[in-house]
Amino acid sequence: MIRYALAVSTAVALLATAACSKPAAAPATPTHPNLSGSWLPIARAGGLMPPLNEIPLTPWAAAKFKAERPAQGENQDFANTTDPSLKYADPNGYPRISLHPMRFKLIQTDDYVYQLWEYNQNWRQIALNVPQDPDPALTWYGNAVGKWEGDTLVVDSVGYKDSTWLDARGLPHTQDLHLVERIHRMGANLAFDITFEDPGAFTKPWTAHLMYKPSEDGSMTENIYTISDELRFRERFLNQKVNIPIRR
């Protein structure tokens, strides 16, 4: 019996040795472009988003847009703005935060791509090769999943709070907003082709083409902005009365 047990254990050991000595399969070599780095928007006249007449607003969205008082643009009313990112210092939401003339970093790993914005030090994560959550929590920056299609990272995101504006003009959306982004290199630059689907706000899908250039100075300046900052500015520059304690 002992001899039998020894024989079996010897055989198992030999098999294990043979298995270990067999060359392991080489890990797949990533063939995707490297999107990591620091990026700055490439400014263009009229802003990064398409002109309003190219955006197919539903009657609801058109009326909401008309009622807003943005702090910029043709009908700007900074003193009495309804911009939630100024009135409440709300996070910008997406893609508005990527429209600032400030840097963002992309950090690419096997499982996630992280996007870190200089503005307010906000960030989002894009989970790779996982299915979209059918019932995501509503958040400022949505639930984003991505996969590679050749040299393009295709990102699908849903679950956006409807209180954010899509841009500083006051472009509205509902909580059914669905974004499909195609992120790819264009020479040294980085392109984000973002398709907006939202039956409540848009009569048909439309696409914005945003371009970013590498930022040679990759360091990110802390740029955290609070409601106290906003109210202090309004008190000093607009003589607006402040009804809550703020830092002066």
């Binding site: 900074f78 200089e118 990110m220 740029n223 202090r232 500015f233």
Partner: protein, 133 residues
């Protein structure tokens, strides 16, 4: 008592030049507009250049603040705004580029309706360094 080295200066132009200038301004002034547009609180058709004493330089959000005293005092008589810290850092500004007591020459768009505010176009430090907002 220091006196302004130039008076309020209103640019006049023909239409073509005006459109070119406006287009250029839209392109180049975008960073300063990240927080708010300037036209609802400043007279963007006017530029004023004065020599003044810095009373405060606050590196803060949403806009860096430059307080000046054209009369050379220590109290802010005119409050000017710049871009946000990351934006003007890209143009060479730092939090210590000027301090209270420095004498600078600053060009700005003045506040509407006589408000004692403005938005900086450029500043020349006492040692001749020219910084654009």
């Amino acid at each position: 008592m220091r006196s302004p080295i130039s008076r309020t200066f209103v640019i006049s132009w023909d239409l073509g030049f005006g459109i070119w200038v406006l287009g250029f301004a839209l392109l180049t002034s975008t960073p300063a507009l990240a927080h708010h547009g300037a036209a609802s609180i400043y007279d963007m058709s006017k530029e004023t250049t004065i020599k003044a004493t810095v009373t405060e330089f606050v590196w803060t959000n949403p806009h860096v603040e430059l307080g000046i005293s054209p009369s050379g005092g220590a109290t802010t008589e005119l409050l000017l705004e710049l871009g946000s810290p990351p934006n003007i850092r890209n143009r060479g500004w730092t939090s210590r580029v000027v301090k209270a007591g420095d004498v600078v020459t600053v060009t700005f768009h003045p506040g509407l309706h006589g408000a004692k505010i403005g938005i900086v176009v450029k500043m020349i430090t006492a040692d001749g360094k020219e910084l654009h907002a």
